[in-house]
Amino acid sequence: MTIDLGYAWDTLINSWPMFWYGIKLTVAFAVVGTVFGFLIGLIIGAIRGMPADPLDSPFTKFMKKFGKALTGLYIWVFRGTPMMIQACFIYYLLRPVINWGPVTAGFVIISINTGAYMAEILRSGIQSVDPGQTEAAKSLGMTNLQTMIFVIFPQAIKNTFPAIGNQLVVNLKDSCMMNAISVTELFFQSSSIAGSKMRFVEVYLDTAIIYLVLTTAATWLLNVIERKMTNKKTVALKEMSC
């Protein structure tokens, strides 16, 4: 077993345009998947985390139950199967119908997949918010939707931010599965480079290091945001005391 580090370095430099192309797509997939997955998760999580309101009409009660069953099925399927299989299945299933390209398909699939994880994160976040918060909002006359948007979501998101942010890191790595539908993301590009040079170890070492840089940068960024979110409070308190 030998690794030619010099060769790895040279390849990184020489094939940088190809790597860079893949990096851009990988980052795009991670960001799009996380943002849209978050939005999907917020809606699904709200449906699943919504407490039963004694004032609900029988129709609303039924719809809530139905919504929970349906979203439960979605979460079960998308968390219980590999994203690579989801990508292949959905891409080829819908290609004759909507004639989409792999990149579009990939964006949609990674969002739906992330949404399933986000939904569970946000559901637990919503359920961890003190029921007194909802009661106070209701006692002012706020509607269920207003209560969710202005009182519950902000607290649920803040409480679960580390888990939400972690999905970005997961997506940076898991977007490599999109190579199965020929999305030219970082792993796909690396395989092309490795295949054309017939040097696998060195090229994949480069790839691993690039992934590590990406995930480290993302983690750092998330930490900064999280610290900002908690620091706001102390600042407000300082202003007040003087």
Binding site: L55, G132, E135, K138, L140, G141, Q155, L237, E239
Partner: protein, 246 residues
Amino acid sequence: MENPIIKVDHLQKHFGDLKVLNDIDFSVNKGEVISIIGSSGSGKSTLLRCINLLEIPDGGSISFHGKDIMDRSQSLTDYRSKVGMVFQSFNLFNNKNVLDNCIIGQRKVLKRNKDEAKAIAQENLKKVGMSAFEHADSTKLSGGQKQRVAIARALSMNPEVLLFDEPTSALDPEMVGEVLEVMKDLAAQGLTMVVVTHEMQFAKDVSDRVIFMDKGVIAEEGTPEEIFENPKNPRTQQFLSRYSAR
């Protein structure tokens, strides 16, 4: 006599097999301060929560200015905005600062504009002595401060009636006074209030009427003098003796 603001008629409420409220009758008139006393578990909170429709009564009726509040042709949010609630555990919105706690309901429910809502919030914060804390994080306040903000939040909706569910029970003893002071001021200003409390001195001094609840029924009702000086029901006597013994 003037029509009552709230009229509770033969109200019943069960939790499963447990009958928590049984045939409750009483009304709240404009400008009145009513104290509800009684031992823990007697159904006081449930009664207030039924009035605010946080619990749904399963018998009898509650009317607001003569209209059944369960009648869904009336707007629930409109009704709730007119009947405020102050909770034992404050329930300030943790994601909002003091001022925004008092603004959000006005903006979203009453659709007041920003400046008007802010002015009203500031006015009410002043009333409860919390002006200096406008921009403070609501989670960083002391219990007494939180409860005063919660009162300002409720007042900012200009409710016709304010319901208090043991507003001082979760407070450290040294903070009870500041909250009771605020409530006394409100009573003196003519606010209609229904107060569930264990502060017998407050009930005695401030209320127009005292209701003693026992095991889900109103066991006795009367003026503070009638209830505190001359209780007729042996259960009222027994309950009150526990307080005077201290």
